[in-house]
Structures are given as C-alpha cells and as structure tokens.
C-alpha cells in the first residue's frame, strides 16, 4: 500500500531512500563547493600580497644572496621623493585621461549610431568589437609595423607619402624634429582603437534598456531631440557609461602589455607608464625587489580606490537587476 502511494507521487524506490541517508548536508556542499576556489585565491593572490607587503619594508634583491633587511618606510620615502617616478605617474595619468576620454566619446558616438537596427547591423557591430578581444601585446607589435615611418601604412593613410616629411610616431619625431608626446599619442591611438568598442558595448546595452514610452511622452510634448538627448538618453545611460569609464581607468593604470609590444617605454622614457617601470625595477637591471614591492603597493592603492567605486556600482546594478 505504502509503495503504491509513494510511486504515485513520484518518490523513487528504496535505493534512493538509502542514498538519501548518505547524502551531503547543504552545509557540507557549500564548503565543498566554495573552499577549493577560496583556497586557490588565497594561496596565489592573497598570500603573495602580504608577502610583498613585507618585502616593501625591506631592502632586498631577488638575485642577491642576501636575505631581506628590514628598513621600515625607507622604500616608500625614496619613491615619494623620486622625481622620475612622479613623472611616470603623471604620464600614466595623462595616458589614462586621453585614452579614456576619447574612448568614451567615440564609444558613445558609435553606440548612438548602431542603436537602431539596420540591414546588417548585427554583423557590423560584431566586426567593430573584434579589436578588444585581441592580445594586447600582439596588437602592439603589429601597430609597430603600421607606424613604421618608411614602410608602414599609417603615414600613407594620413597623407604623408614622403617618409622624411611625415611623423615617426614611435620615435616622437615629425620630419626629423623631435615632437614630445607623439609616442604617447601613438599608444593612445592604439588603446582607443582597441577599447572604444568596449564602451560602445556597454552604452549600447544601456540604450536598449531605455523604455520607449519616455521618448513617446517626449514626442507628444514636442520636446526637441536635443532636449531628449540631454534629459532622457544621457541620464538613463549614465550608470553604464560610468562603469565603462571606471573599468577603462583601472585598465589604463594597469596598462602594460600594449606599451611593451609597441614602444617598450621609449623613446627615452616618454611612454614609460608606471606598470612598465615597475616591471623594469623588479625584473630587469638590478632587480630591486624591495623598492619595487613598495611601488607596487602604491599603484595598488590607487587601483583599489578606483575598483571600489567600480564594484560598488556593479553591486548596485545587480541589486536592481
């Protein structure tokens, strides 16, 4: 009698009941599922961070035989008094402002253009998105070829067919004369090329989420399209645009691959971004591990400050969605 009843409601027969006795509690499943991930993250990400915090207070070189020597805040003092490092921070800031600014404008413009569907818009949108999926260092390398003053395509495309009159972007020279900032501009151009699609993608999803009735109401009220843009489109897209900007700013401060592929920091130190310089201090020349760790921490603090904003916005978005 009981068996028939159980089958009626679909409870599997006795074997399953036996299994149930062995089954894991939810608590155990949570632990089993989460801890491997957390342990790996702690072992490979968090422990190293504390290790390098310790190193940042020491005088140490990874290639020397000496053990780290505790010197307190001396590394930090050295860095903050080092004019060159301030200059690299300034370069990074300039690079971040220029590239993020241009990406925002271009990305927003592109998103407005592909906002409404037309024949083939899906295909074209995907084509536009390709650059951001590429490997930055490989991108840097083939742009190096494109920027080449004699046989590169860039000068021809902007209308300089005579190599001796045109710009040599990566050497910061124009017709033989040094023009400081040209090399950084070259890096910015590539970064904008790569990442404007990212801004476009985010803005586009924001635009798609704007309810039609807002525009319909505006049309009924005879609002000008200018007014519609400032009062409906922009405020509605603002959160996503902000996320895109924050994300790109973080990435600009981390920027390493692209510059390594394109200029390696040169000419001189014109495109020496802070992450590139950190690499140079830590892994080239004298391997100043201690001081590099201190510098890494300073960069980290800047990035954490920006990331915090980013993640706060993400949580807000997720909370709403």
């Amino acid at each position: 009698m009981t068996t028939t009843k159980a089958q009626d409601v679909g409870v599997p027969p006795i074997t399953a009941v036996r299994q149930r006795r062995r089954q894991l509690s939810d608590r155990a499943i949570i632990n089993l599922f989460i801890w491997p991930t957390l342990l790996l993250l702690i072992g490979i990400n968090i422990f190293p961070l504390f290790y390098s915090l310790y190193l940042s207070f020491t005088e140490y070189s990874a290639i020397a035989r000496q053990q780290p020597v505790w010197i307190g805040l001396e590394n930090f003092a050295n860095i903050l008094n080092n004019e060159r490092l301030w200059r690299y921070f300034a370069t990074t800031g300039r690079y971040a402002v220029m590239s993020v600014g241009l990406q925002t404008i271009l990305g927003f413009g592109l998103a407005m253009l592909v906002r409404e569907k037309f024949r083939g818009s899906g295909l074209v949108t995907t084509l536009i998105l390709i650059p951001m999926m590429l490997s930055p260092v490989v991108v840097g390398l083939f742009w190096k070829l494109i920027y080449n003053p004699t046989f590169g395509y860039f000068n021809y495309l902007i209308g300089f067919s005579n190599p001796s009159l045109g710009p040599d972007m990566l050497a910061s020279r124009w017709a033989g004369q040094p023009v400081p900032g040209l090399a950084l501009t070259a890096v910015v151009i590539v970064d904008v090329w790569m990442w404007s699609p990212f801004v476009m993608l985010l803005v586009l999803s924001g635009l798609k989420a704007i309810p039609d009735y807002l525009y319909e109401a505006a049309v009924i009220d005879r609002a000008s399209s200018w007014f519609q843009f400032w009062r409906i489109t922009l405020p509605q897209v603002a959160p996503l645009l902000l996320i895109a900007v924050l994300f790109r700013t973080i990435e600009a401060f981390k920027s390493f691959d692209l510059v390594m592929g394109l200029t390696g920091g040169g000419p001189g130190d014109q495109t020496e971004l802070i992450a590139v310089n950190l690499y140079r201090q830590a892994f080239l020349g004298q391997w100043r591990t201690g001081e590099a760790s201190a510098l890494a921490y300073i960069i980290l603090i800047v990035i954490i400050a920006i990331s915090n904003l980013y993640i706060r916005y993400l949580n807000k978005m997720r909370g709403e969605g």
Binding site: L32, I34, N45, F118, P197, F256, M317, G321
Partner: protein, 334 residues
C-alpha cells in the same frame, strides 16, 4: 479626429511603432547612419587587414616603399615562423634544386629554398605554441569546473557574508599582474615552480577563477530555482539535482565561460613574460621577442599574429551575444 488619421500628426515623428507615421526624412537619416557605421567598422579593421596581408608578403614586399597593396602572396612568413633555417652553401644549391624538381621537398622546404635557405628544424615558436595550448587548455578546464561549483553555491545557498566574499573574489581579478608577480616569482622559485607548466597552469587557473565564478553565477541565477526544488521533492539529492537538472540547463553559459577563459589565458602576456623563461614560455612573449633577433622578420611576426587572431575572431562571432557579460564579469546582461 478623422482628419488626424488622414494627415497624421503635424510634426514629423522619429520614434513610433506605426510605420506610416515615421517621417521619410528619418528613413534617409537611417541609411546615412548605416553607411557611417559601415565606414567606421572598415576603418577599424584596417590594422587587422594590414596584418593579414603582411603575413603573406615576401620579405622584400613588406619593406617596400610605398607599402604595396598588390603583391604576389607567399607562405614565407609562415615558414620563417615555424622553422629554423640555415643558408645553403653554393655548392649544395644545385643538389637541392634537383631534389626540388624531383618533388622530394615538401612545400615548406621549397619555399625556404626560394630564399636560399634550408630548413634545419622546427623553431622555438612551435614549442611555445604547444605550451600555450597545454597551459591555456588545462587551466581553463580547471577554473571552469571549480568556478562552476563555487558559482552554484553562491547562487543557490544563503552564505554568511556572501557579498563580501564575491567582492573579494572579484577584487583579486582587479590586481595588476605586475604587482602580484614579484612575490609570486619568489614563491615559485622557492617551490621550484618557476618556468614549469604546473606553475603556469596553477596561476592561470586562479587568474580565470574569479572571472569564471562571476560569469557562471550570472548564468546560474537565471535558471529558475523551482526546477531543482521540484527535483528535491522528488527525492533527488542536492548533488543529483545539480548534475542532472542544473548542469544541462547551464550548458550554454558554461560554454561561453570556457571560451572566455580560454581567450584570456591564450592572450596573457605579463605573467608569462615574468614567470617563465624557456621551458614553459607561451607564445605571446615569444612573438614579442622575435623582433629582437637578427633582421626583423615582419612577415613572420604577422604570420604569428594572424594565427593568434583567427581563433579570436571566430570566437567573437560565436559569442557575440555573450560579449557584454564576458567583459563585465557577468554583471550586465543584455
């Protein structure tokens, strides 16, 4: 009112669900817009196009002034990329020519002969590429599996401090590679993981794990809880419900996550540059160092880049509807 139906509204309308109300001027604006977008996309693809044609240029064509658009395509770049070569001595050249005519040489050897060289063996790049495949592949598999479990737990259970944990997981991804690498380098050296496949797989697994957790959680959140609850009521265990009900539903999400992880590991440069030197070095840093060695072989670099690019382009097309999630850690869905 009847008049309104005949004439339509007095001011032209640009947004409407009714076709007859839309202003004709608006339609022409639309096609201008489409053209503009098309032009922008084409300009954006010029660099990719340049790289594509450079890969098939002979050495002389690459450095010709002005740059050539029309040229005789050759596989020279690929031969240079994949092989080590030595200059053939004059005395042996005839011998080689005869062998070529008799059809004893394969395609690569013939092309090398045309530039007066013979192939002495596969280049380092072949090994680096193999390393890339091994390291990217294994690390992706591990991180997706671990990520899936963690994402499921975060998606379905009440966990104390859940948001903080998720925040912590994401924040590890925000760390700049260069910052983490200094202590990692020392740790790896201590554990003799420096320049080993194991070390790199471990590192890339962790690098992708935070991403996988966030992205997969987004996908899992979308599968209604009711399915599993029904299964649990029917006597499934939690694990059975997970494997038999949730997994089949999440297949698309898992596939998308896998491909994104694969791309990230495939493209990664900074860790590989600093934590490998020879044995476990992957392709991206080795393409970059190719420039340094005697005589810049642009066609070889372009060929290498092209090989790197094609899988990514295909993936971009396959994953286009998930790209937005992919680049925002699954936080934003279309």
């Amino acid at each position: 009112m009847a008049k309104f139906h005949e004439q339509g509204p007095r001011t032209p309308v640009s947004v409407s669900t009714r076709v007859d109300k839309v202003n004709p001027k608006y339609k022409s604006v639309n096609s201008v817009r489409a053209l503009l977008v098309f032009i922008m996309a084409m300009i954006g693809l010029i660099p990719v196009f340049v790289m594509g044609i450079t890969a098939f240029k002979a050495r002389a064509d690459v450095v010709s002034v002005p740059p050539k658009l029309i040229f005789e395509p050759t596989l020279e770049g690929f031969v240079f990329l994949f092989t080590n070569r030595a200059v053939v001595a004059q005395s042996r050249l005839v011998e080689f020519r005869e062998a070529a005519e008799a059809g004893e040489l394969n395609l690569f050897e013939q092309i090398a002969l045309n530039t007066g060289q013979e192939i002495t063996g596969p280049s380092d790049y072949v090994f680096r590429l193999r390393n890339s495949v091994i390291i990217a592949g294994l690390s992706t598999i591990i991180s997706v599996i671990l990520g899936l479990f963690a994402a499921y737990a975060f998606s379905r259970f009440e966990i104390p401090g859940k948001n903080d944990l998720l925040f912590f997981i994401l924040s590890t991804r925000m760390l700049p590679a260069v910052v983490v690498t200094i202590p990692l380098f020392l740790m790896f050296r201590q554990l003799s993981l420096h320049d080993t496949h194991l070390g790199m797989i471990l590192l890339y697994t962790v690098f992708n794990l935070s991403f996988a957790v966030w992205l997969l959680k987004g996908f899992l959140d979308e599968i209604p809880k009711e399915y599993e609850e029904a299964a649990l009521v029917d006597g499934y265990t939690r694990l059975q419900a997970f494997f038999k009900i949730v997994l089949p539903q999440a297949v698309t999400g898992i596939a998308a996550t896998t491909v994104f992880c694969l791309i990230f590991a495939w493209n990664e440069y900074a860790f590989a540059l600093m934590l490998t030197s020879e044995k476990a070095r992957t392709a991206p840093p080795s393409i970059a160092t190719m420039l340094g060695r005697g005589g810049i072989e642009w066609s070889a670099i372009a060929a290498g880049s092209l090989g790197f690019l094609i899988p990514v382009v295909i993936v971009t097309f396959v994953l286009r509807q998930y790209l937005l999630r992919g680049v925002t850690f699954g936080a934003i869905r279309q």
